[in-house]
Amino acid sequence: MSMGIPEVEDAGCLLCFGYNGADSHPIVARRIVRGRQKGMKIICVDPRVTETARISDIHLQLKGGSNLALVNAMAHVIWEEGLTDDRFIQEHTKGYDEFLKVIEKYTPEYAEPITHIPADMIRQAARMYATTKPAMILYGMGVCQFSQAVDVVKGLANLALMTGNFGGPSMGIGPVRGQNNVQGACDMGALPNSYPGYQNVTVPEIREKFEKAWGVPLSDKVGCPITHVPHRILHEKDEKKRIHAYYIFGEDPAQSDPDLAEVREALDKCDFVVMQDIYMNKTGLYADVILPATAWGENEGVYTCADRGFQRFRKLIEPEGDLKPDWQIIAEISTAMGYPMNYKNTEEIWNEMIDLCPSFAGATYEKLEKYNGVQWPCRDKSMEDKGTPYLHKGGNFATADKKALFYGTDWHPPLEMENDEYPMSLSTVREVGHYSVRTMTGNCRMLRSLEDEPGWVQMNPDDCKRLNLEKGELVKILSKRGYCITRCLPTERVKPGATYMTYQWWIGACNELTLANLDPISNTPEYKYCACRVEKIEDQEWAERHVKELYDDIRVQMGIDTGKGAAS
């Protein structure tokens, strides 16, 4: 996020795009509510009536998969009506004229049939965003989980650049990161193209710096993105490029990744799968080795939250059982392979890391303790450098000439559109009580009591009526790739023809249906759009029994004693 989370409530206008804070980040959503109480204007772009939509001034309930058409049309209105910040464009940006050539045709009338939003509403939204200062954009997976995702992120940045909404507090654009430490895993270079601190593996001077620090030659080839792994196991012809070993650390691809049938086949065919985790999970069923790690609460270190904030996490209780902290397991394997890693504690690792990363160099444990956290960039070790609440101060961007680049592209639809066989669309979403693959929240008694298997499919009441479905009834939902059983949830929050499911359920596993169609730059799958069909199950008694049996079977596989004897 270019801004800090506390700044959200002081924006003059919030463009909340494909971001459902009430379910994914309740504490950020609270800032949005507080902003509203202070008079903040809210434009909500979401195909569902989210909580943010309910308190918005304008809700653009667009057709799923039409994001870029809407963003380009808003840019068109801002340009056509002269609502641009011309001085900012001139002093701090490049590529504006080329960008205008792209958005020229995106009149609101052109976008209306694509987005299903009346042209006048697009005009009103664009005017509100451009004329209310400071204006902030928050976005979420409703932007990123499409095959056209990076283009939309750039499109949103274009809006902020055109209107001079960068360089001060409560403005800019903010991807509100999902997991507690997804920002941190990126910061640390758990990415195929960058070392820690966003330093590219293909730049010779940077590679030499790391080679010198680590004392070994390093590869100059960009690595394999995680979403290419099934293909690289199953279909790669070159033996040297085929993935033969997969060391999975703190993830559950057999639940969280798209097209689960393909993921299972890949894990099954992979010669050697190592899983390092805290709880048994679906991926564990395919692991050749399982390494048990300490959990949050039993170990310590630093996380990075969504707004670049480094914060300490601390040990609460002593681990029980034969567990080791993740960093120690990795260090021991490395040492056994002939590359010794000897660290006494997390601070030693942290100190090695910050000295290799100019943007993090000043974020010492001492400062994290004293200031209760530091937002990067923090370049200087002196106690005066307390970090950076918002980026691009004064319109200075992180490019060689400090100028931001406009980047315009044309809209294209998602890959798999509704058709005769699969007439509805499916998008994956979140719910507030459960988290990710739910091995944590599903094992918390209070949270588990909120929702349980097999989850729900959200559908418009008209569709339910057409299919003769009642609330709570078990239904079968299918795509070209697979199917699952879940419960029908009629809700006016969603538009006819569209369905929504959360991805943490084992039985109502929507990733059996999703499609591994990737954005060409981010390699993120199109979780937010595939074609599906909902079928009524006539024999509900059988279906209820079947779901219960499936649930018991999986729990037994996961090592739970259900009274029928636990499996190993």
């Binding site: 040297k240 070993a245 988290y435 094992n443």
Partner: protein, 144 residues
């Protein structure tokens, strides 16, 4: 009962809320979680912050907590057998070394973790893949 208070960062979403825990050190159990005045949460928490730590008690609801290293000695689909850490570490090291030797470093993929493990463990994981294995095949769930 020796009660102690420890402040930490919530393990769920990216909001980075600060929580103050009361811990019974003798029983090695968490007693209570209350919001702390963190920069982002400003003395508030959501339901996961309040109640999301019970999994540390291993209540045997959904899945079993992993407590010992395990290996499928008879290959895929054979039962998992508990082993010592020494055996598990040397087995993983041997298998990865063999695969690296036979097919080259780019035949091995590793992931980071965006969840509980923290930045230091992620730093070591990517260092392990890059320096020990010799590949940039490391990624995590940011893109999924």
């Amino acid at each position: 009962m020796a009660l102690k208070q420890v402040q930490t960062t919530c393990p769920y979403c990216g909001a980075g809320c600060q929580i103050m825990f009361t811990v019974d050190a003798d029983a090695n159990k968490i007693v209570e979680a209350v919001p702390a005045p963190g920069r982002t949460n400003d003395g508030t928490l959501c339901l996961k912050g309040h109640y999301g730590w019970d999994y540390l008690n291993d209540p045997q609801i959904l899945t079993k907590r992993l407590r010992k290293p395990m290996i499928r000695k008879g290959g895929k689909r054979s039962p998992l057998e508990e082993v010592s850490w020494e055996e598990a570490i040397s087995y993983v090291a041997k298998k990865l070394s063999e695969i690296k030797e036979k097919y080259g470093p780019d035949s091995i993929m590793g992931t980071g973790s965006a969840r509980g493990a923290g930045n230091e463990a992620n730093y070591l994981m990517q260092k392990f893949m890059r320096a020990t294995i010799g590949t940039n095949n490391v990624d995590h769930c940011a893109r999924i």
